[in-house]
Structure formats: structure tokens, C-alpha cells
Amino acid sequence: MTNSAEYRRVLLASQPPHLHPPYVSGRKRAPSKPLILIPNSLATVNGPVFGHEMIQPGDSDLTRQHSSEPLGERIIVSGKVLDDDGHPVRGALLEIWQANAAGRYKHKNDNHAAPLDPNFSGCGRVLTDNDGRYSFVTVKPGAYPWKNHDNAWRPAHIHFSLFGAGLISRLITQMYFPGDPLLAFDPIFNSIPDESARLRLISAFDWPTTKPQHALGYRFDIILRGGNSTPMESYRP
């Protein structure tokens, strides 16, 4: 890829469109008029700085926020946050939220008839270190039903929110798990046109971070916009 038109095509295919009709909730919410393209140079607002004082030491361990440990398969989710030039993003704030092991969110609007877990809130925060690395301890979330279409089920996922260097780096996404049979039927996952971009949202089971007698490791690396715009290659961990 050497020219900007090709670059832009690949970039577009690697992100979902605003409107993906199989995802029903977007039909009345996605903008219908063309977006107005503005030069990057005119919107280079720096991101907010989130200091360590906003993060409590236990915020990255979702299994230690209550008197006992939650039910479910204990996992360690870790990875690197890089910009699109491959440089580590230091001090990036990650916020995560998820359903419990039974597929139930601790939220007033979640009516799924699965049990809440009194030992699981499903919320975590962490800042990346100097190498752009992060790590969370949690339990594997369950799949859950939703009303998008007949017999619709969301594949197991963890929501990730990230702040990088600036406005252009802001990202909210979802991390999925390898081998999940529901991925093929999920309109949110499949809203991304480019297959390789879709597959990069699936974490990898990871022996090096799996702790004996304790927890399974999953690896999920994240690329944020915000480097210099030059031609690119696919990121392969």
C-alpha cells in the first residue's frame, strides 16, 4: 500500500460504518447525511491527562473488589497499547466493563434471567506502563441474549475504553474470545467489513501469561490512531 487512496480504503474497511442495518439499534441513530471531512491539523486536541491518583491499586483486579471472589473462570487479560506507528502509548487510561460469568450485567436495565454475582461488579481501570503494557485480572464473561433478532446472543466480550494522545486516538471497542461459535452470527462483530480487522478483536489464548494453579492468560493488543500518516501494514502480534 503506497498511495493515500488505497490507504484510505483499507482504513475505512477496518472500521465499522455508522450504519450496519443488521444491527437494528443503529437504524434510527446512525447519521444519514455525509460526514464533513476536516483536516487532521484542525482538530488536534490533546487528550485529558488521567493521573495515577484517579486509579486505585485494586482497580485492575475485578476479582478482588468484594469480600469473596466471583464465580467463573479466572483470567488475566493483558497486552500492549501502541500507536499506529508502533510506538507504545504510555499512561493511556483503559476502562473496562463486562457481564459476569453467567452473562448478566450489574445494570438496572439488564433483564436477562441469569444470576447476579454479589462478588462481581464488572468494572476495572488501569493505566499503561512505560512500554504501553496493561493487565487486568477478571473472570471470563458469559454470553447473553439480546433482542436484535430471533434467538440473538452476544458472544462473550469485554468492553474496552481507551484514551491515547488526543481526540483522534479515542477508542471504545470490545474484546472477544477465541473459538466462540457466536461470533459468526453477531452483527456487531460482523459490522467490520475487513476480515483481518475483525479477527484482531479476538484475543489470543496465551501460555506465557497463564499462571499455574491460578488463571488463564489472554492477550489483546490495541492500536490507537495518532501516529504520523504514512502507509501501513497489518499489525500481527
Binding site: 439499534s25 464533513i36 485529558p48 466493563w97 450485567y105 445494570h107 471497542t173 501516529g227
Partner: protein, 162 residues
């Protein structure tokens, strides 16, 4: 750019679990009370129905604020008046996330008189008939503005692509 950025996915309906701890209804750098303003409004989908599960982020060089919409689709945010650069009129950058949106929409809210901002380099790119969607209007009280957001259809708010 060497690597393709990670794909966006919807914030979903349950984002308050993860995003509430760091909700800030006023910006981080409130320098002086006399610079503080409040913007309130409603976020609408097509057919003018309010959206109760959106979260808005207001970005400026001076601060950051994040607020969810309430059950009636309304939001209220307090922030410092943003610093004005020579090429722009006074505004905040705004990112809006919600169930149903696979990636955020990016817009701006300008404060002041649309006629007085002819030199703004971004507003010059916007069709005249749609510029009003980017302006917050005084609600009659000092330092309080009202700004409604229409996601789709007639009177759709102008959204930008970066």
C-alpha cells in the same frame, strides 16, 4: 502509519458500569468560576425520540468532561469557557457514544453568534443551511446554553470525519 488502528465497537447499553467512576460533569481544569459555563440539551434519534443511553464527551485544550444522558434523553455539562485560537471561534469538540452506534460521532458545539464566526476554519466547510446545528443558544440565564443533538433525519446535527 505502520499499523491499522483497532476497530471500534459500540459502547452498548451498559456503559455506565465502566464509565461512571470517572464521570466528570465539570471539566478537569476549572480555573475560575467566572469562566464556568453550563450547556444542557437533549439527544434525539430519528422521529424525535429522546435517547436515554448516550454518553457525551466535551474536549477542549483546557479540560475534559463526560456526561451520560438521563432517562429523558437530557444532559447537563459544566465546563470552563474554552481558550480561543486565532483560527477558531469558541467551541468544544464533542464525541458522542451510544447503543446503536458502532463508532462515535464527532461534532462541535460553538458558543456565540453564528454571524460573528465567519473566520472559523471548520465552519467554512459546513453548508450554510446546517451551521445552526453546531451552535448552542443562550437559555436566558447568564452563562447557560442549550444545545440539542439530532442524530438522524431532518435537522440532523453536523458530524465530522477526521
Amino acid at each position: 502509519m505502520k499499523f491499522i488502528p483497532t476497530a471500534s465497537q459500540t459502547v452498548g447499553p451498559f456503559f455506565s458500569i465502566g464509565l461512571t467512576p470517572l464521570y466528570q460533569s465539570s471539566s478537569t481544569a476549572l480555573a475560575s468560576p467566572e469562566n464556568k459555563i453550563t450547556i444542557h440539551g437533549t439527544v434525539y434519534e430519528a422521529d424525535h425520540l429522546p435517547i436515554p443511553d448516550a454518553v457525551l464527551e466535551f474536549w477542549s485544550a483546557d479540560g475534559f468532561a463526560r456526561v451520560p444522558t438521563k432517562d429523558d434523553g437530557t444532559f447537563t455539562v459544566s465546563a470552563d469557557l474554552p481558550f480561543v485560537q486565532s483560527t477558531t471561534a469558541q467551541h468544544f469538540e464533542v464525541l458522542i457514544f451510544m447503543r446503536g452506534l458502532l463508532k462515535p460521532v464527532y461534532t462541535r458545539v460553538y458558543l456565540g453568534n453564528p454571524e460573528a464566526t465567519a473566520s472559523d476554519s471548520i465552519l467554512k466547510l459546513v453548508p450554510q443551511a446546517r451551521i445552526a446545528t453546531l451552535f448552542a443558544a443562550s437559555d436566558g440565564s447568564p452563562k447557560r446554553f442549550v444545545w440539542n443533538i439530532v442524530m438522524q433525519g431532518e435537522n440532523e446535527t453536523v458530524f465530522f470525519d477526521l
